[in-house]
Symmetry: C2
Subunit: 252 residues, 2 copies
């Protein structure tokens, strides 16, 4: 079997509201799940404040070492929306008004009080960028080089991801299956480790929990080879049952 | 007024389950909120996979440039729990069994099947570390230098934060107040920016939303000076009302 190219992505979440604990981030999980389906692995996330130097540092390191870089947040019309300027600075290019974005915003705000200077801010893009369709509201997302600049509001980002579906080159999607047991993971640690060692190319994650006063754990097997996942799940189930545990085939 | 020392913290979230989108992180928001109360600002978060070199890189950069570094995840008994080894490597120290952690685990597992090699893994700490009490389950958190190693399961981390409350030196807590309007933020962008410029030491965040088919936004004013927050809220409220908007004094 030929060795496989792994496609990677990183995500920079831009927002004081996440770092202050005011807002619970939803974009990491939604972008991670979407990337999995495209055959791209999310390998690092950084949450940075609304400060240009922090954004520039994260963007420049992560775009260089990944196939794709996504950002969320900071593309609205207000003074704290500095993502476009920061990314233009990171890339060493200017900022221009994208004619198509101007037209989109003029149309969107036509029935909502008309275009203003503040609204025109949302048509600003790093020079050379193209747009990502926003099916939910006026301001589009932005694509430049290997960078995809998305909204902070999760349902707007969802619409932008939808427009990008199928347009990014990826590898084989990572497949995962889980099983679960009412067991303390410390009881079956060696058995898990043995299952991972004897199945090349799979990773097993062990996720303990406490519910209704009982200890349990789910075991997630991941690989880009579905047959390897199935074989590992089969062996792991047999080993857990041989050790006297009842296995829940879809997790608990 | 003397210029104020700002105390900063960073957080490294260790876990393939977050990067795969399987698990929604809860620790960023809970640790951010807890740090605010201690007078410490969370200024950067990185989510890294269960891979030693990724953990070492993030830990070494972030511990050097912050007063405190927190980590979550990867301190259980299974093969994918590599946080202790990675942090010991980052610090250039060995890994030892902490006698008090061994005693805690022996007591905890006394009525749960007894101690085993896998369970003893949870007593391993970087050489020179002390323990953070875990009020929920057996395995303690770990404190070494300016690093605080916490659990991945959010309610266990909550208990560990509780044991640390009041033990970390910080500055004045950041205070925040919010107001809200049913308005498109693009309509009042200049007004917000003006309010921020005329109140030294405050930051205003604008957080738009769409609910029940309507556009609204909350405006969060933050500062370590409560009087500056109040003055800014008063001026901003007056400016919004003068522009014809109804202001909801606690946000929407």
């Amino acid at each position: 079997m030929e060795s496989e190219r792994i496609w990677t992505a990183a995500l920079v979440v831009i927002g004081d509201e996440i770092l202050s604990g005011r807002t619970q981030d939803k974009n990491v999980a939604q972008i991670a799940q979407w990337l999995n389906v495209q055959g791209i692995r999310l390998v690092e996330v950084r949450v940075v404040p609304d400060r240009q130097e922090a954004i520039v540092e994260a963007v420049n390191i992560l775009r260089a070492r990944n196939d794709y870089l996504f950002t969320t947040g900071g593309i609205g019309p207000t003074h704290d929306d500095i993502t476009v300027d920061a990314i233009a600075t990171a890339l060493g290019v200017g900022v221009v008004h994208h004619p198509k974005a101007v037209a989109v915003l003029e149309r969107y705000y036509g029935s909502r009080g008309g275009i203003t200077d503040a609204r025109l801010r949302m048509a600003r893009v790093p020079e050379g960028a193209s747009l990502i369709e926003n099916r939910m509201s006026g301001a589009p997302g932005i694509h430049i080089g290997n960078i995809f600049i998305m909204a902070g509001v999760p349902n707007i980002t969802a619409g932008m991801l939808d427009s990008l579906t199928g347009t990014l080159e990826g590898g084989r999607p990572v497949v995962s299956r889980q099983i679960g047991c009412w067991v303390a993971e410390s009881e079956i640690a060696e058995l898990l480790s043995h299952a991972e060692r004897t199945h090349a190319g799979v990773a097993i994650g062990s996720y303990p929990f406490f519910r209704e006063g009982r200890t349990g754990a789910n075991f997630v097997v991941r690989s880009s080879d579905p047959a390897a996942v199935d074989a590992c799940i089969t062996d792991l189930t047999a080993a857990l049952e041989a050790a006297g545990h009842t296995v829940f085939p879809d997790g608990i």
